[in-house]
């Protein structure tokens, strides 16, 4: 098991269980609704309120400014590289882990869980210590004129580190619960491994895969700590959207900071909606084959 969220629950409520007295019911409902509104929803709304505090024009100006545009481009580029890498890894790793038994499997799963449990600062630092100027590979990289830290490769590496568990963690339990019977049947009927994967396994896990990709992408675009350590904060060059928002915020340029942050808030909303739609429509195909 892992440090990971299970899916939102799609099952019905226990209607019979609703025998709490009216007073209890109302106070519990009011308390939890109030809490959710004030503590969870209000921060999200605050992003948009602060971004639009001086009207729509400064908001648009902050987003259309060259440094902001370059941050958006960089974020999209980083996600476009790291998400596909992690899809491939996720599929490959879950094939090995879910379809076969081997020694060291628990260790492999622990390694996959690791990014969830270490602080993102560490996730960035390890690459600085490996590839940075004082890192173990630093001198060799400098001789060969390859820059990883404070450049795109470092940002991609840090993002990959933080986000690779999402796809794998989604697929492993799903593929485990589906077993190997269908694949074995396909192989016996003469399909090769590749055909079996594309025609049997992938259709069975496609919604789970999409679910993992959604979460992976949201985290890839929003990652702050790890990317902050390896990026070097070069304005217009190595700043992603969250880093650009941070710089503006630290310059007390709050409207612009929240305007840039609102892009990420929108991304979070879209992710949440897409995730919920997947859970509502394909909940049975996402769940790991019945409750534990």
């Amino acid at each position: 098991m892992t440090i990971f969220l299970s899916h939102g629950q799609t099952g019905g409520v226990n209607r019979e269980a609703q025998r709490d007295s009216r007073a209890v019911r109302w106070s519990v409902m009011a308390l939890s609704l109030g809490f959710l509104l004030l503590f969870i929803l209000l921060p999200l709304i605050a992003v948009f309120i602060e971004a639009l505090r001086r009207g729509i024009v400064p908001f648009l100006e902050a987003i259309a400014e060259p440094d902001a545009l370059s941050a958006i481009r960089l974020t999209l580029l980083v996600a476009a590289i790291s998400v596909p890498l992690n899809i491939v890894f996720g599929v490959v790793a879950s094939w090995a882990i879910a379809k076969f038994e081997f020694r060291g499997k628990a260790f492999l799963i622990t390694l996959i869980d690791l990014p969830f449990s270490v602080s993102p600062v560490i996730s960035g630092l390890v690459y600085v210590l490996l590839f940075g100027a004082q890192g173990y590979l630093g001198p060799w990289l400098r001789e060969n004129d390859i820059q990883i830290i404070f450049a795109l490769p470092g940002i991609v590496l840090a993002t990959v580190f933080v986000t690779f568990p999402f796809v794998a963690r989604e697929l492993i339990p799903l593929m485990q619960s589906q077993g190997t019977d269908e694949e074995e049947a396909a192989i016996m009927l003469g399909a090769n491994g590749w055909q079996t994967f594309w025609k049997v396994t992938l259709p069975n896990v496609k919604w789970g895969l999409l679910y993992g990709v959604l979460l992976c992408n949201a985290r890839a675009m929003g990652e702050f700590g790890a990317v902050s350590v390896v990026s070097g904060h070069i304005r217009g060059k190595t700043n992603t959207i969250p880093l650009h928002a941070e710089i503006l915020y630290n310059e007390y340029n709050f409207v612009a900071a929240f305007a840039v942050a609102s892009i990420l808030a929108l991304l979070a909303l879209v992710t949440l909606v897409a995730k919920s739609v997947l859970e509502w429509r394909f909940g049975h195909e996402l769940s790991t084959g019945g409750k534990h």
Partner: protein, 294 residues
């Protein structure tokens, strides 16, 4: 099923017939997929972490100890641990309440509420950090009421607790929810008919079943809170000895190019993360066994 790797390595050693059958039944691609995953994990995770540990090991034990036991560092451990503890306490209460409402009550908008629980998970932590700061700073929606009452949240330790609580709330709710759903109502009703009060029912029937997952969820939230960075740095104020978390001190050392110190602090964080991971896994195993038994 016996996998390929557990078979004797020498194929010429003529495996027993049953084994040969199993071997033929196995799907293709084991070597390829395991090799690729191991390589990927090796390059992305193991090699960089080895670099970190090597850096930390290049310090003499005395130097290492001086860094990780300095007054400033110890203050960050105290602040990080106590804030994560309070955030977990906060979430244990509200998480249980939310899970209860989502499972036990039927009302319009229940699904919307359910989806909202994951917002802290989807919202980038830096965005959560500046948004919470905007709400709790002196001129914010909450801050303007709380600060005149003498309650300072932003730029003080309660701010760290709030940021950690925000980002780790989903873990508690999502761990408790499935267990609550599986709870058999008949037992409760039987208890009720036998004359048990609501309080007795909760203490004797619901709580014993719920407790393992409650603990597992709380430990997940605690682990997440220990690692939180993005949301915390904006709201904490980051005063050394007062509102500085360990991850931030590490970050400052990196910024100063003091890599040995950063590596030493990072080793402490990494080790505590491993301990947490182990504890969480143990709790979750216990929870699973508990659920199967009931």
């Amino acid at each position: 099923m016996i996998g390929l790797s557990s078979l004797p390595s020498g194929r010429a050693a003529a495996p027993a017939p049953s084994r040969r059958r199993r071997q033929r039944r196995a799907l293709p691609g084991f070597g390829l997929t395991l090799g690729l995953s191991a390589t990927y994990l090796g390059v992305i995770v193991l090699l960089p972490i080895a670099a970190l540990l090597l850096h930390a090991a290049s310090l003499s034990p005395a130097e290492f100890w001086a860094i990780v036991s300095s007054r400033r560092a110890v203050a960050t451990y105290r602040i990080t641990l106590s804030s994560a503890f309070y955030a977990t306490l906060f979430n244990a209460g509200f998480g249980l309440l939310l899970a209860w409402v989502l499972v036990r009550y039927d009302f319009t908008g229940r699904r919307l509420l359910d989806a909202m629980i994951d917002l802290p998970f989807a919202l980038p932590t830096a965005v959560a950090g500046i948004a919470l700061t905007a709400l709790f700073a002196r001129n914010g929606i909450f801050g303007q009421w709380l600060e005149p009452m003498g309650i300072k949240i932003a730029y003080a330790q309660p701010g760290i607790v709030i940021a950690m609580a925000f980002t780790s709330l989903p873990f508690v709710v999502r761990t408790i929810q499935p267990v609550l759903e599986d709870l058999e109502v008949e037992i409760e009703e039987a208890g009720h008919m036998l004359g048990a009060t609501d309080g007795q029912l909760f203490a004797r029937v619901i709580w014993p079943v719920l407790m393992p997952s409650f603990l597992a969820g709380a430990s997940l939230a605690f682990a997440r809170s220990l690692g939180e960075f993005g949301a915390v740095v904006f709201i904490a104020g980051n005063l050394p000895m007062r509102t500085e978390i360990t991850a931030l001190l590490t970050y400052i050392r990196i910024d100063e190019y003091d890599y040995p110190a950063a590596a030493a602090l990072a080793t402490v964080i990494l080790l505590s993360a491993f301990v947490m991971l182990f504890a969480v896994n143990a709790l979750q195993l216990w929870q699973l066994r508990y659920m199967r038994r009931s």
